[in-house]
């Protein structure tokens, strides 16, 4: 725990070249990663990431310096390194900054430092066993386990002085199905912002393992997906990655504040179909993307992004707020001390709608049902996105006729949002890691099942009869 006096001295040192704002971020992050192949533990690694970052702002200019050493001398040097970016001082703020400590914690029933590797391995073994026994075609089961506790202290010249403890755990289950020359994979990766009790109370490892195994086997027998421009039904949960890529990144101040987003200047105008409402909510208890306090010490909130197709808000951090002249939304995040924070998503989802899940498929002449999405990416200035379909089915005359593999969906965020013509009633979320300027942060994506009236489907298959 850093002394208030030290923090104060570091902040004032950082402002010596005239910065109007300074911020100190300290991190101590302990993690355990274990990998199991075919039921045998293959590797185990412990890591303690520890260091500090100092950021200064002057208007919309920013500078960041970080260092792995956290003694007072190093912190002051780091502050000077950040201050050097602004060159000679004209005016440096001084006087006392009122700092009152607030401590945040995440409620945890079983702390990770009370758990031995044997208990972690037991959870993993269940996953491996269930995948392997699900089908004789599953030739390999891979399980990766992660738990970590990130302890942070954030102090700034606005008087923020907070500590937070952020436990997270995730299990990644991957099944490989093979027959001679071909191989296909299926996966699940549930995770929570909770303690080890997650595996007793929240995550049913067996159920996820079965889903992963079935997916690998189904895809092994799937023909290649045909290419074309057709309607696409995208399932709930990780299907929300479409919204994350097609829209979410383009609503971040990182893009909007620099005029690099298709959604600049579109507040209170229509950017999506009537049936679409969407939210980013960092306050949901225990969710993978949730935060107690953001990485500038701000308060996370439920941010309404789109209401009935009308753009209602952006995701804004402190620097973005200065650029955009709008209040910050508790959306500042970073991977750790090696990154200056910026506007990011937390738990982002399309809200439940009024449509029937089954009707979306019955009512489709020909198209793709994307049951499970893989990853994707977007170029925010143009809004062009791409993502892969990990488990897809071809639909003809309202019926699923075959699983299909190797599909990719591409398009422009601004166009796809307007083409959503169905939104189902049951919303759920799935965890992922989102990479951007401030590193890789845990986020949830989510949505109910939705339908898009037309999208470019990439694939190398012929027509499916």
């Amino acid at each position: 725990m850093i002394l208030k006096e030290t923090a104060h001295a570091v902040l004032r040192e950082a402002q010596k070249s005239g910065a109007d704002y300074a911020e100190l971020f300290l991190e101590d992050n302990e993690s355990t990663r274990i990998e199991m192949i075919d039921g045998k533990v293959e590797s185990a690694n412990y890591a303690r990431i520890s260091g500090a970052g100092v950021r200064i702002l002057l208007g919309t200019q920013s500078a960041y310096a970080y260092c792995a050493d956290i003694d007072e001398q190093s912190l002051l040097e780091t502050a000077r390194a950040a201050a050097a970016a602004l060159g000679e001082a004209k005016f440096a703020p001084n006087g006392e900054i009122q700092l009152t400590l607030t401590r945040f914690t995440t409620p945890v029933k079983q702390r990770f430092d009370t758990i031995g590797n044997a208990e972690r391995v037991e959870v993993m073994r269940t996953g491996a066993r269930v995948m392997k026994s699900a089908s004789s075609e599953v030739t390999q089961a891979l399980v990766r386990y992660l738990d970590q506790v990130q302890r942070v202290t954030i102090v700034n010249t606005d008087g923020v002085f907070v500590t937070d403890e952020r436990p997270r755990t995730r299990i990644f289950l991957q099944a490989v199905a093979m027959n001679g020359t071909e191989a296909q994979t299926g996966f699940e990766g549930p995770g929570c912002c909770r303690g080890f009790e997650t595996y007793r109370d929240i995550i049913d490892v067996e159920a996820h393992a079965i889903v992963a195994a079935n997916m690998a086997v189904t895809m092994l027998h799937a023909p290649e997906c045909p290419a074309g421009n057709l309607p696409v039904v995208i399932d709930g949960g990780f299907g929300g990655v479409i919204f994350h890529e097609a829209c979410g990144h383009s609503l971040e101040a990182t893009a909007v504040g620099r005029n690099n987003s298709v959604f600049c200047g579109k507040l209170n105008t229509r950017i999506a179909a009537d049936c679409v409402s969407a939210v980013d909510d960092g306050t949901l208890p225990g969710e993978w993307g949730s935060i107690n306090v953001d990485d500038e010490g701000g308060t996370p909130q439920r941010n309404l992004l789109i209401e009935n197709g009308i753009l209602k808000g952006y995701l804004i951090d402190k620097l973005g707020s200065r650029r955009m002249n709008m209040p910050s939304t508790g959306s500042s995040r970073r991977q750790g001390y090696m990154f200056a924070p910026t506007s990011r998503m937390t738990n982002t989802f399309i809200c439940a709608g009024a449509d029937d899940d089954e009707e979306m498929i019955f009512g489709m002449a020909e198209g793709l049902y994307a049951k499970k999405m893989g990853g994707g990416s977007v170029n925010p200035p143009t809004g062009e996105f791409n993502f892969s379909v990990a488990e897809g089915y071809w639909v003809k005359n309202g019926k699923i006729v075959s699983p299909v593999r190797g599909a990719t969906l591409i398009g422009k965020g601004s166009e796809v949002l307007l083409k959503i013509d169905r939104v189902g009633r049951n919303m759920w979320m799935s965890p992922g890691m989102c990479g951007s300027l401030s590193g890789s942060v845990p986020t949830n994506v989510g949505q109910p099942r939705i339908r898009v009236s037309g999208m470019t489907i990439g694939g190398k298959g012929g027509a499916i009869e």
């Binding site: 293959e42 690694n45 890591a47 599909a407 990719t408």
Partner: protein, 443 residues
Amino acid sequence: MTYQEFASRAMEYAEKTGCASSELYYANGESFEVNANAGEIDRYSVSREAGVSVRVSLNGREGYAYTERIDEPEKLVDHAADNARCIESDDEHPMQTRQTYQAVTRADSALKHMTESERIALAKRLEEVCLAMDPRVKRVVYCTAGFDSGAVVMENSLGLHAERSTNSSYLYVMPSVEDGAELQTGFAFRMGADAADAEGCAKEAVEDALGKLGASPVDSGCYRVLLKPYAVSDLLSAFSPMFSADEAQKGCSLLAGKEGEAIASCLITVWDDPFDPVAPRAFDGEGTPCVKKAVIENGVLKTLLHNLKTAKKAGVQSTGNASRKSAASAVSVAPTVFRLEAGKHGYADLLQALGSGLVITELEGLHAGVDAVSGDFSLKAAGFLVENGALVRPVSNITVAGNFVSLMKDVIALGSDLRFGMPQGGYFGSPSILVSGLKVAGN
């Protein structure tokens, strides 16, 4: 505590607690990066970092632990020993003994001797040149100059001692251009000795962006395709796990057991060349001396890539491809500098040979749209439509789909234009390649 004290206390304690051997991997570094926007310093970052990983061998099993706090070496060794105790795999993972290494010098990169203000001026100039190049250039999305330097020290209880220092410089820019309601972005980078070339970098990026104006999809179908160097090097990078003996031994590579077989067109030769000036190194992530070798020679798979563990299991010698992504990561297998050998054809020749089809200049979504196990890919792409050897118009919002192994068999011609892609954890280079057919989705 000095690092030396930390290291000797860690190794002594490991021995005392019954570890047969122990190894330390220490990395430190400094970095500088600046991003210019509208003539101002928009982002600026400087850092000093250090971390140490200890690896122990206990009862034939190995465990790792990493820390960025150079204190309490005993506690770190306890974590590593604890991790070793939970390992169940019977694979032996030997540590390297003392070796002698070839002297390798890595040339100073362009930003090394610049002052901070010169580096800032470089980023600002890059933006200025972009903006001045064409009235349709409205802004830069990002415009970044950076310099990293660092050192790695490896030592173990078997006598290994290996040290290297590195430095790298980079410059990259994404200008955005507007023509009426249409917006396109372009990209270019420079690295190493070329990293101060703001003019060349700006020109390439702006031309890339302008070249895309008016782009639209093509009809879905099968096309002859000329893949430009960055597109091919991105594919090589994404599918490089196929060449790892580790993936092969786990049953996750289609190339398992194919050594000595023709797996690609006879035009294809792929080098793993640790001494390539782009990023030369004398030893790998386990301290094994690096060697240059053909991985594919005239279409024939000559070897998979090995570290000490996979080599022991396969009964062969390590190929010097042990990799540590960072000091915090365990030893894995990865290429060093991986490149497809260039051919003789110029771009005009290749367009003639293409006749009618597509030039693909860039691929997107490589972290998602490729399956390194099956070799399948389906990726968003951009480029140009070509008819009778002449560029007709830019193409965007299409996908190309295929299989990496089939693609390597379908290569008809190779360009002379070898280029390395932007390094993202590895160095992958390729010339343009002409392939007989890829499935394209568009209209």
